[in-house]
């Protein structure tokens, strides 16, 4: 989660699935963004058609075996917006959020996930979405928060961390910094994209939550993720692959401490 849109929550979810799988953690991915679903595409399973078996929906599995469930798979075309059946779309605001909560509950509980150690849930922007999820899943283990180093994003993210800790009372696994550095593909020169008064690491410290590392802006990352293959395996030498693995190791460490 982050509260802010477009900071890379979905990208980080896909990367974390890759990293945790490399570390031997059996990981699944649920896309909780019903209106802007993208996890099927980002995990390389966008052509998967849902089918059911033994009273459960079968999750799609990407090239390295991660099960994925997303609203993407229920909409026939990339252009199809999510529209719920209603006698008239005008009065629909009164119940749309109810249908969405029911749909999310079903995506989570009616899917055959196989044996999982961890289920990563990619949230849409908006801090209240996290609150809804926490209501639906009172045993939520923790929240991974994503932010860029933009001061605007950090202001929103800061509020979301407070909300997670104080209102929803969910533990924060840590803060992932995304797209704040850019590595030149030619010479490896590293530059900062945002320069502000506070760094993401300082923001984490201010809230007393772990800083999980920084994933650099990487030109080919989005296209690569759509293949559904492991970035860490295929681009082992790239600084982004090191960064992703480092974030995954810290999350793994946090989870191990949690289960003690």
């Amino acid at each position: 989660m982050s509260g802010k849109g477009g900071v890379g929550k979905s990208t980080v979810t896909a990367c974390l699935a890759d990293g945790l799988t490399r570390l031997g953690v059996s990981t699944g991915v649920l896309d909780a963004d019903l209106n802007g679903p993208c996890m099927a595409r980002m995990m390389g399973v966008k052509d998967h058609k849902p089918s059911s078996q033994n009273g459960a929906m079968i999750a799609a599995r990407n090239a390295y075996g991660v099960p994925v469930m997303s609203m993407d798979m229920f909409l026939p075309e990339d252009e199809t917006p999510l529209v719920w059946e209603a006698p008239s779309q005008q009065g629909a605001y009164t119940w749309r959020s109810m249908v969405e909560m029911s749909a999310l509950r079903e995506l989570l509980s009616d899917t055959d996930w196989g044996d999982l150690d961890v289920l990563l849930i990619d949230l849409p922007p908006g801090a209240e979405r996290f609150q809804n999820l926490a209501d639906l899943l009172p045993d939520l283990t923790g929240a991974v928060v994503v932010s860029t180093a933009s001061q605007t994003a950090m202001t929103v993210v800061s509020r979301s961390i407070s909300m997670a800790l104080n209102i929803a009372e969910v533990e924060v696994v840590g803060l992932v910094e995304n797209m704040s550095t850019m590595v030149c593909p030619e010479c490896g020169y590293k530059d900062r994209v945002f320069i502000g008064v506070e760094t993401v690491e300082e923001l984490a410290r201010r809230h007393g939550v772990p800083y999980l590392g920084a994933i650099p802006f990487n030109v080919g990352l989005a296209d690569f993720l759509e293949t559904g293959r492991s970035y860490i395996e295929m681009h082992a030498e790239h600084p982004a692959a090191h960064a992703i693995l480092e974030v995954a190791q810290r999350v793994h460490f946090w989870l191990k401490n949690q289960s003690k």
Binding site: K49, P50, S51, S52, G55, A56, M57, M73, F74, L75, P76, T80, L82, V83, W84, E85, A86, P87, S88, G91, A92, T94, W95, R96, M98, V99, S102, A103, E106, L107, D110, T111
Partner: protein, 153 residues
């Protein structure tokens, strides 16, 4: 009071009419559109369920028509023995399976009546299809003018 009839659903709301068996006095109950929709969005089945539960039933059965890719949309799983829920479910089921039809104004109907009877149903159907394709839910004389060239009315 005995169940007499149902009207609708129109626009998500419906009325259910009861009649006194001795004096024939009628009372109607009108359902609230927003509340009916809200209860349905929670996956509540009027009259309880008769068919086994399907995975992701609420999600799939609430997707607007034409949106779901597969598997097949779950069949309505309601019914039961209660005459009230049976009647209400029949009315809802009939409304859901019937495609939406545009409404005819008197002027437009008069024009249809002016053409030979044996081709009236076909012309009517063509005009209705034309109207729906163009997003018109009321067929008035302007719509008739628009299809005139195409159908030669």
């Amino acid at each position: 009071m005995a169940l007499k009839s149902t009207h609708g659903p129109f626009d998500g709301s419906m009325s259910i009419v009861y009649e006194c068996p001795t004096c024939s006095m009628q009372t109607a109950m009108l359902t609230n559109r927003a509340e009916t929709q809200m209860v349905r969005s929670l996956g509540v089945k009027i009259g309880g369920r008769t068919a086994p539960e399907e995975p992701m039933e609420t999600l799939r059965s609430n997707l607007a028509s034409g949106q779901e890719v597969s598997p097949e949309r779950p069949a309505p799983s309601t019914g039961g023995k209660c005459p009230f829920t049976g009647m209400v479910n029949d009315a809802i089921g009939a409304a859901e399976s019937e495609p939406e039809k545009p409404v005819w104004t008197e002027g437009a109907l008069a024009r249809i009546e002016a053409i030979p009877g044996y081709i009236q149903p076909m012309v009517k159907r063509n005009v209705e299809n034309f109207a729906l394709e163009h997003g018109c839910f009321e067929i008035d004389e302007d719509v008739m003018d628009a299809v005139r060239g195409r159908l030669g009315i």
